[in-house]
């Protein structure tokens, strides 16, 4: 591998690059999909290639190829330099990078049970047993159960002498029961919509107890069909961790991406209301709001040894006691606010450039009450569980979420079920209204394996640790 990376870097620098890096990536994937006890799709994929990123005249160029030969490395390096020269024809602000030390070493996701070492028929059997359990419930129209795993071998080398090797494994699984009556369609999933994902081995799937939770999930899907719609109003809401992590993702994770704040994602996903002049001076949330980007936390989808610029995994405070204090950043963007990169540059494979992505953006737990204690402490509220729909504006201010489950809480007891529950608001108004956060006993990692960003499009795997929280005076029950 060093032959190819050295050749790519030598060619790029010989042609005029002042900085170059190269990533060689091999990725394997396996997926199982079962619908209504029928094994509908099983697939295995492999892709490999390399991408070269260069700085020439203060501007970026990138080229990539599936063909892992030194001759192709020469061609691709030359193409990257040519592209960078074309970029430089519009330069207004020359790119400068921070001075991180060269990176060296090896990182591997800890896996107790290698998911790719377990026989396929056993994995199918585990999932099929859970899907059959869903179908034991009367009134279910159809079910879907999924399993997927991905492993990536990634070599990174840069013209400053950096050389790292990483093996990252991600795995996810989940169940979904669908109940339908006329034009009313209700879905209930377990443990999460689209599966619960982690960086881990097959032990992650075993710990879910899919079979043991299937019947409850399916029964709730049927119950939802006859539940009344959630009335509109302004209420106290309790966000279960299975919804709270999406609230963190959309309304804190994305707006604290420094590239968005600088406008470089404006043409696709938008910008951010959190502009650099607000650093350390803007109240984002209540005093209970501590949010950290942490690439070191075990099992997170954003856990690694180094990011795709060779910056070591680290913890970066984003919100501290409610104040906005930090960004997810890169070697290019961090110096513009007088800081070092926080190590958040991640690429979706060999053929994409690294972008600022979430690592694991976590709302820290607060001692005092578990999430169940917070529910018991609530006189009159609504409990929202498991994300079903999400939308937020291009500056990450106005959001609307829908959940699979919405239950009334009266006198600390969970009661009546509503269907099609939604809540909406403005990001900082919601976080400022947070008056309780669950303790460490309710805290766990959740994963988003489908975070879209960039042009050409990239799908990111990012993590979120949350414990559940309570918010006051939130508008609920928006419907057409």
């Amino acid at each position: 591998m060093r032959d190819l990376t050295s050749r790519a870097l030598d060619t790029a620098t010989a042609l005029g690059a002042t900085y170059a890096d190269v990533r060689v990536v091999r990725r394997i994937e396996e997926s199982i999909q079962i619908k209504s006890t029928r094994v509908e799709g099983v697939s295995a994929g492999e892709t490999e290639g390399f991408g070269i990123r260069v700085l020439v005249d203060g501007a970026w160029g990138f080229a990539a190829s599936h063909n892992l030969t030194t001759a192709e490395a020469d061609r691709v390096a030359a193409e990257a330099v040519r592209i960078a020269r074309a970029s430089a024809t519009t330069t207004r602000l020359r790119v400068t990078l921070d001075n991180r030390p060269p990176a060296h070493g090896r990182y591997e996701t800890p896996c107790v049970e290698d998911p790719f070492g377990i026989p396929l028929d056993r994995k199918i059997g585990d999932l099929l047993a859970a899907d059959r359990a869903l179908n034991n419930v009367k009134g279910i129209a159809w079910t879907e159960s999924i399993y997927a795993a991905q492993r990536e071998w990634k070599t990174f080398a840069a013209s400053d002498g950096s050389f790292t090797e990483q093996v990252i494994t991600h795995i996810g699984a989940g169940l979904e029961a669908n109940a339908i009556d006329g034009d009313e369609h209700q879905r209930r999933s377990y443990p999460d919509n689209g599966g619960l994902w982690a960086s881990a081995g097959y032990e992650h799937v075993r710990a879910m107890d899919l079979v043991g939770n299937a019947e409850r999930a399916a029964s709730e899907a049927v119950e939802l069909l006859t539940a009344p719609p959630l009335p509109a109003g302004t209420r106290t809401i309790l966000l279960h961790p299975s919804q709270l992590y999406m609230q963190v993702h959309e309304s804190c994770g994305h707006p604290t991406e420094l590239d968005r704040a600088f406008g470089t994602e404006a043409s696709y996903a938008g910008t951010s209301f959190l502009t650099p002049d607000m650093l350390n001076g803007f109240r984002y949330g209540s005093d209970l709001c501590d949010i950290v980007a942490d690439a070191t936390v075990p099992a997170g989808l954003g856990t690694f040894g180094w990011d795709d610029e060779g910056v070591a995994a680290q913890q970066v405070a984003l919100v501290k006691e409610g104040m906005f204090v930090g960004y997810l950043s890169s070697r290019e963007t961090a110096p513009r606010i007088g800081r070092q990169s926080g190590g958040a540059m991640r690429a979706d494979g060999w053929n994409r450039i690294p972008l600022i992505r979430m690592t694991n953006v976590n709302l820290l737990p607060k001692p005092g009450m578990s999430f169940d204690d917070i529910v018991a402490d609530t006189d009159d509220g609504l409990l929202f569980e498991t994300n079903r729909s999400w939308s937020i504006d291009d500056r990450r201010l106005n959001f609307q979420f829908g959940t699979e489950i919405c239950r009334e809480v009266k006198g600390g007891k969970v009661g009546r079920l509503f269907r099609n529950g939604t809540y909406t608001g403005i990001t900082y108004e919601l976080w400022r209204s947070m008056d309780a956060v669950g303790d460490a006993s309710s805290w766990r990692m959740w994963g988003t394996p489908n975070c879209g960003k960039g042009e050409p499009g990239q799908t990111g795997h990012v993590g979120h640790g949350v414990s559940g929280a309570r918010f006051r005076n939130v508008r609920v029950g928006v419907s057409s």
Partner: protein, 462 residues
Amino acid sequence: MSSVGGGLDLRGANPEGALRLAEEVVRLASAAGAGEAEALVIAGDSALTRFANSEIHQNVASSEVYINLRVAQGRRVGVASTGRIDAEGLRAVVERAVAIAGAVEELDDWAGLPPAGAGPRTPLASAWADGTATFTPEQRAAGARAVIAAADAAGVTAFGSFSMDAEAVAVASSTGIRAAERRTSSQLLTVTMGPDGGSGYAEQCSVDATRIDAAAIGREAAERARVTANPVDLAPGDYQVVLNPYAVSDITDMLGYLGFSALAVAEDRSFFEAGRRVGSDLVTITDDGTDPDGFPAGFDAEGVAKQRLVLLDRGVCRDLAYDQQTAARAHRASTGHGLPAPNPYGPFPTNMAMAPGDASLDELIGGMERGLLVTRFHYTNPVHGKRVVITGMTRDGTFLVEGGRIVGPVRNLRFTMSYLDALAGVEAVSRERRCIKGMMGGAVVPALRIGAFTFTGATAAG
């Protein structure tokens, strides 16, 4: 690394090379004992120049190959894919697919692979333009500079991307399918933003990148950003609207995603019932792989020739998109709308078009007593899939119209609205249509005037 067959040249979107590679993979799978085998090969080059703050900040190119192999042993089906074309890579992908087929349970209603006669007769020449395949980084940079110059002239800042793809697509199967074609596409889009909160958008798509008028796109977006400065708050509620084609393309996208698939209908998660009226008489939506105004494609991922569908005929549900498996379950033939296997989403109409009307955009606006002109939607998502209730935001130009005249810009609004109700309320359709790149493929759509559209919230100024 050695390439199969003594060195296939897959660079330059070579459909003959892609087809030979697909045939070789099918031969290897058959030799490994596969009862049926089908290989999809997509090989080509793509590039994208991205600009922000009126300078190019990301600029990329890649050469990629994708092989998707589906094998069947009786009713047991396995799928494997690879990006490797060396002998070891091909051997490995065949081994994985055959191993999966040996491990899975039988699909009791496995349809088998499409028959040879379902393939296309001739490649679709209109899917390709040399001008895109040879488009250089310098040409993309020139396009970006033209947009930036228009933004500079209007005192606003430009953000956007200029992209191109040139690929060879081939399908070969043990049942005799032989399909090969080369396809190009290109897109220039820009968001422009002014110092006083104004923002604009414009986009042009084409098979031929040399037909894209970057300066005109820049001027359109820049003018919109200029006139949307200092937007004011407007109370949410029901408003008559005119939706620009950029917004209308979200409606066709969502209908394709949620409703026009035979699998969605089979699973009872679609609104679609043949003969059901869901739109006004003015709404006809087709899917036509040969439409030169979109991104033509002669066949699907199963190698089946694409048929023209009339999905909504003057507001009434008529045709559905089928792939081989959903067609067999319905005892009919595939319409050529299959995606690469395994495909949990079902078939998808990738070449939708909405029929034009007879009004100009000015006439659409002139017909509103009090309403909103919406440039486009942002971050839309289904709230209720079967009723096609969607929530999302307006973006890059939302204007209050009174007495048929634009009064001024308003701050972005959130809507929560059934797109079926929106189609039922269509009052007028524009003559002019645009090709807009969508979720999958592109859609050729007009502007629409709709009687009532439900806005449920507004963004904040901060």
